[in-house]
Each structure stands twice: as structure tokens, then as C-alpha cells.
């Protein structure tokens, strides 16, 4: 590349005088050099005067120094290295930066810091006030609701009578009772299907009467009690089973709900008693070991229903 380069002496520091002396040795003026290299005279002056800060971008400055050095047959590489050393511009690659973007959206301006802080404080206060307001509102509702719940409620029935219901709070605490009473119309539906709406209202009033002494009606109370007593045996029938063993015997007893009342080997001489919902499913693994089997205090003969000394029976028979 540098065919015309003549290694003179690589200067340790950038010396503009080396350029000046070499130019004078070749008997050239600054104007002639500038014309030959197509460089502004100011650049030649800056290089020769060592005024490197007056030169422009380092990339171009290096190029100018290299071109001028080669023109004067100086060691261009050494002079450029000296320039780099002196100016500290060691990087030859550009630092790439993105072109900034400007938002043209209205109202998107950078405000004063005080304004920003003020805005944030206002927003926080607004949030705090709204939280306080919502809490006070809900608190009043709860109190109001509790007051209302303590008041009795009057209900108009279809036959024109007015029933006074107990407070809602009382109803809630006695939910079990009302639920029980609500189930009664189902049992009575066979007899009173045509009066279903009335019955439900009546049943509510009846449940209310059981808990409120002032408005209690004796007849309706009796009716409820009767219905409750009448319904109970139908929904769950309990029975008693008694087994006496003279020898060890394997037993399995399940009730109607599938609950296992017993399963395993019972010891000789033990007397076992079980209660469960009918029908009971009983399997006796060794009939000969059973001395006595009673169901609801009635003896059951196993010999007739056992097979191979194993009895499978469902009680009641």
C-alpha cells in the first residue's frame, strides 16, 4: 500500500515539525500540498503545527495524516500511531447509537418534578379516601342489617290471615328446625297435594311458632310434633341382632346403608349385639359355632338356611 513510504524514524510522539521539515525538503508550499491532496490548507496547518484538537473527527484526521505522510514519504503508520497515542483515540470502530425517537402524542410531556410528586400525592389521597368511604358504607350496612334481622316479620297468607314471623337471626340460628319442618310436606304430599303453597307457608309459620312463645298456636304445634314423630320411624328403622358363639367363627354383618357392622373372626364364648338399618346382610362362616341367633329378640333357626356350615341371610327374613 505504502509504496512511496520511506521509513525515516518512527516518532514516539506526534510531531508536526516532521511534516514541515519533510515538506520544505521537497520544496513544496502548503498551498501546493493542499492542492495535491485536495485538503483544506487549515488541515495542513493544523497537522504541521501539531494542533490535533483543531482537526475534526478522528477517523478523518487519521486519514489526512496518513495521506500527508505518504505524500511526504514519511512513515505513515508510525505517525498515525503517535496521533492515536496522543489523542487517546485508539478505537477505530464507530460507536453505534440509535437515533432517538420523539413522541408526538398530545399531553405526553415531561412535567416539573414538583408537579409529578403532587399528582402522585393526590392520587394516593384519592385512593385512601375511597377506601375509607367504602369501609364506612359497608360497616353501616352491616349494623343496619343486624338491626333489621332482630325485628319480627309479618307475612300475609293466601287465606287472608297475617302471620308474624320471628326475626331472621332467629331463623338462621334454628335452621335445623326449619329444615326439618320443610321436609314434612314431602311426606304429606300424598294427602295434601292440592294445598302445597299454603302448606309451605303454614309450615314456616309453624316453625316460627315453636320458637316464639307469644305467637304460639297450640294446634299447629301439635300437628308439627305429630308429623315429626310420625316421620321419624319411616326414614330410619333400627333393629337389633344378637349372636352367641360357642366356638370361634368368622362373621360379616352389613346394614342397609352398606356400613360394615362387623367383619372378622369372633372369639368363642362371646355374645355380640348389633344395631343397624334394615335389611341386615349377615354371613356366618361357621354355623356350628353359633349357639343362639336372635333378631329383635326372636330366635332364628340357622340349620334350615345354612349350606356347608355357612349361612347367608338377610334380616328380617
Amino acid at each position: 500500500m505504502s509504496d512511496e513510504t520511506e521509513v525515516v524514524s518512527p516518532p514516539a510522539v506526534f510531531s508536526g515539525q516532521a511534516f514541515s521539515e519533510a515538506r520544505q525538503r521537497l520544496e513544496l508550499s502548503i498551498q501546493q500540498v493542499a492542492r495535491q491532496l485536495h485538503l483544506p490548507e487549515a488541515v495542513i496547518h493544523s497537522i504541521e503545527g501539531g494542533e490535533l484538537d483543531k482537526l475534526k473527527d478522528p477517523v478523518f484526521s487519521r486519514g489526512y495524516i496518513r495521506a500527508y505522510a505518504r505524500f511526504l514519504k514519511l512513515d505513515a503508520d508510525a505517525l498515525v500511531a503517535a496521533y492515536n497515542q496522543q489523542t487517546g483515540n485508539l478505537s477505530t470502530t464507530a460507536q453505534v447509537r440509535a437515533i432517538g425517537s420523539v413522541s408526538t402524542a398530545p399531553g405526553r410531556r415531561h412535567g416539573h418534578p414538583v408537579l409529578k410528586v403532587g399528582t402522585w400525592v393526590f392520587i394516593l389521597v384519592l385512593i385512601a379516601v375511597s377506601i375509607w368511604w367504602s369501609q364506612t358504607q359497608f360497616g353501616f350496612d352491616a349494623e343496619e342489617r343486624s338491626i333489621l334481622n332482630d325485628l319480627p316479620v309479618s307475612v300475609e297468607t293466601t287465606d287472608g290471615t297475617t302471620l308474624l314471623l320471628p326475626p331472621v337471626s332467629d331463623l338462621e340460628t334454628e335452621a335445623e328446625v326449619s329444615a326439618h319442618v320443610d321436609s314434612q310436606p314431602v311426606n304429606e304430599s300424598a294427602d295434601e297435594t292440592s294445598e302445597e303453597p299454603q302448606e309451605s307457608v303454614e309450615s314456616v309459620s309453624q316453625s316460627a311458632n315453636t320458637t316464639t312463645a307469644e305467637t304460639e298456636s297450640q294446634s299447629s304445634d301439635e300437628k308439627i310434633n305429630n308429623e315429626a314423630e310420625g316421620g321419624q320411624p319411616e326414614s330410619s328403622v333400627h333393629s337389633g341382632l344378637s349372636i352367641s358363639l360357642v366356638e370361634d367363627c368368622w362373621l360379616s354383618i352389613e346394614d342397609a346403608l352398606g356400613r360394615t357392622l362387623y367383619s372378622g373372626v369372633a372369639a368363642a364364648g362371646s355374645v355380640l349385639e348389633f344395631e343397624g338399618d334394615e335389611p341386615l346382610s349377615v354371613v356366618i362362616g361357621r354355623v356350628s359355632a353359633v349357639a343362639d341367633l336372635r333378631y329383635n329378640n326372636e330366635p332364628i333357626e340357622l340349620a334350615a338356611i345354612s349350606k356347608d356350615n355357612v349361612a347367608r341371610l338377610s334380616l328380617p327374613l
Binding site: 500500500m1 509504496d3 512511496e4 491532496l37 485536495h38 485538503l39 475534526k56 473527527d57 478522528p58 477517523v59 478523518f60 487519521r62 486519514g63 489526512y64 496518513r66 495521506a67 498515525v80 478505537s91 477505530t92 470502530t93 464507530a94 460507536q95 453505534v96 447509537r97 440509535a98 437515533i99
Partner: protein, 345 residues
């Protein structure tokens, strides 16, 4: 998914996939590979295999037996042989990764000629993906060259860069991270070599190879008359006698040989200046034109352009690696999500 895992073991690369040479810049390191873009293919029956890549393959150029073909898969800055380019890139990418734990899958930024077609760009992208790249970004060569040369590309000031590569010469005016004007002429180092081969055949009746022509260009080639005359002894096959003969060439003869391709470059530069917006032209006139690429190493080419245009012309520092280094700088912008300097497919 697997590529992402492999990516953890890979470095981001900037590849100057040139017609003559391929340079790879590894992020946070430097230029780690500078090899000729040559691949030697061994043909064994119907099977083809790669015999050598890079410098080894270049030594085989013009010296291969029948079953080996040394080819240059890039022509005029674009891919001429897709599969060979892919193999070459694969070799280079694995070569720059010392890690042999798993196949590298780097993010790759490839420099492409500014006037390459969509198909040519697609081919380069596909080729890089085929070579194992996880993601491929493209950047115009003149932009990468300008960054690599240190030009203030992001400023509102016009900068003209002339990148004389192996296959093409890219001329561009750059301002605000964008290319204002770009021109690409299919004249470069290869055309210089061809011109020398043609000159020698016409004037000496001897045939020389491309490698010899390249050596002549590098040793005594000049673009502008000089008081210093350089000479070189060359051996070529005499066409009339059919036997090798030795003869001596001087730099003035090479200058004469290179007139045609050189004038094509100068004309393109002048054309770019003509079509450049006046404000940017004024900036260029003030600062000058910057030459990059291997062609900028031709003696006095800066002087030639300067004399022809009347503007200051400087040769960038280390012009051969400007494009790869510029691409490396652009790589650093990828993580900052600034893609304005990149080009689309």
C-alpha cells in the same frame, strides 16, 4: 428449543461473507477468522465430500486432480452455489467455536451487498440457517463498512463510503443510521485479477492463473501513476509454444491493465456524488470519501479517486476487516432492540 440450548454454548457472530474472503467477528472478541471463500470438493463416484475449506482449499485452486474441484461458492457478492456455501459456513462457524460439547447455534449477522435481490438475500439467510445459525440478521455491506471504518453514521451528516470488495464495489452515502444513496457495481478484486490475466495474455501471449494474477496485483498493482516503478517476475504458460515461460511485469503495465475496472469504480463514485442530496454532498466535500475493503489496499487508489473527484479521500484503518468489525458493532445493538441499521430480507 434445542437450538436455544445450543445457543447458550454459542457466541454471536458477524460474518462478512465476501466473494474473495470470509471474515468472522465474534462478539466481545475480535476478528477470529479470515479465510478465503474457497471450498475443495472431492467427487467419489456419485458421492461428494468436502476436501478442504478456506486457505487450504485456496492453495488447491487451479492445481487440483480430476476428482477434486476447488470452487468459490460466492460470485459478485452473492451465493453462486448454495450447498457449498452452506458447508463452508458450517465449517467456519464450527471453527470459531472452540467448544466441542455440542454443535454451535449462534445468532449471526451477515453482511449483504446493498443491491442484492430479495432472492439472493433469502439464499444467504437460508444458507446461514442451514449452517446452524439460530437467528440470522442481515446488514447492508456499506453500512457495516461505514461503522467498521468509524464513520459517524448516526449523525445528521453525510458520509460516503466506498467498499471495494472481491466481487462488488459498494458505494453509499450514509446519514442518521440509514443509507441515503447506494450503488453497487460488479467490479472488484476479481475483476482486477481478470484484467491482469487478460493483459498478460494479450501482451505477453502467456496464460497465468487467477492466483498469480492476484499475487501480481498485491505486489506491484497500482491505481495511479507513481515515480516509483515496481517489478515482478512471473511464470506463465506461453500460448504459442505451449511451455511455461518467465517474464517481468512492472507497475505501470498493471496500471494500464487495471484501467477498465478502475474507471468503472470512479464513474460509480462520480455518479453517486451527482445523485447525492446537496447538503450531504457538501458534508462529503468537507470530510472526504472513505475507502474500505480489500480493494482499498491497491496502491494509490485513494489518490486516483481523489484526483478524479477533487475531494479528499482516505483509506480506513485496516480496510479489509471494516465490514466484519462494523457488523460486530451492529451485533451489539441487537440486544438493545435497535434494528434500524439492519436491513430486511
Amino acid at each position: 428449543m434445542f437450538k436455544k440450548i445450543r445457543g447458550l454454548f454459542s457466541s454471536d457472530l458477524s460474518i462478512d461473507l465476501g466473494t474473495a474472503n470470509t471474515l468472522i467477528y465474534v462478539r466481545d472478541k475480535d476478528i477470529v477468522l479470515d479465510e478465503p471463500s474457497v471450498v475443495a470438493i472431492r467427487v467419489n463416484g456419485n458421492q461428494k465430500s468436502v476436501a478442504a475449506v478456506g486457505a487450504d482449499a485456496k492453495r488447491m485452486l487451479g492445481r487440483t486432480p480430476g476428482n477434486i474441484t476447488a470452487i468459490r461458492p460466492m460470485k459478485d457478492g452473492v451465493i453462486a452455489d448454495f450447498h457449498v456455501t452452506e458447508k463452508m459456513l458450517q465449517y467456519f462457524i464450527s471453527k470459531v467455536h472452540d467448544n466441542s460439547f455440542m454443535t454451535p447455534s449462534p445468532r449471526v449477522l451477515v453482511c449483504v451487498p446493498c443491491k442484492s435481490t430479495q432472492v439472493e438475500r433469502r439464499a444467504i439467510k437460508e444458507s446461514a440457517i442451514g449452517a446452524g445459525a439460530r437467528e440470522v440478521y442481515l446488514i447492508d455491506e456499506p453500512m457495516a463498512a461505514a461503522i467498521g471504518a468509524g464513520l459517524p453514521v448516526e449523525e445528521a451528516s453525510g458520509s460516503m463510503v466506498v467498499d471495494i470488495g472481491g466481487g462488488t464495489t459498494e458505494i453509499a452515502v450514509i446519514s442518521l443510521n440509514g443509507i441515503v444513496y447506494a450503488e453497487s457495481v460488479r467490479v472488484g478484486g476479481d475483476r482486477f485479477d481478470e484484467a491482469i490475466v487478460t493483459y498478460v495474455r494479450r501482451n505477453y501471449g502467456s496464460l497465468i492463473g487467477d492466483s498469480t494474477a492476484e499475487r501480481i496485483k498485491q505486489e506491484i498493482g497500482t491505481a495511479y501513476p507513481s515515480s516509483e516503478i515496481l517489478e515482478i517476475d512471473v511464470r506463465g504458460r506461453n500460448l504459442a509454444e505451449g511451455i511455461p515461460r518467465s517474464f517481468t511485469l512492472n507497475s505501470n503495465e498493471i496500471l494500464e491493465a487495471l484501467q477498465e475496472p478502475l474507471s468503472a469504480i470512479v464513474q460509480s463514485v462520480k455518479s453517486a456524488l451527482e445523485q447525492c442530496p446537496p447538503e450531504l454532498a457538501a458534508d462529503i466535500a468537507e470530510h472526504g470519501i472513505v475507502l474500505t475493503g480489500g480493494g482499498a489496499l491497491l496502491r494509490n487508489i485513494d489518490r486516483l479517486v481523489s484526483e478524479e473527484t477533487g475531494l479528499p479521500v482516505i483509506v480506513a484503518e485496516d480496510p479489509l476487516t471494516c465490514v466484519a468489525r462494523g457488523g460486530g458493532k451492529a451485533l451489539e445493538m441487537l440486544d438493545k432492540h435497535t434494528f434500524e441499521i439492519l436491513t430486511s430480507e
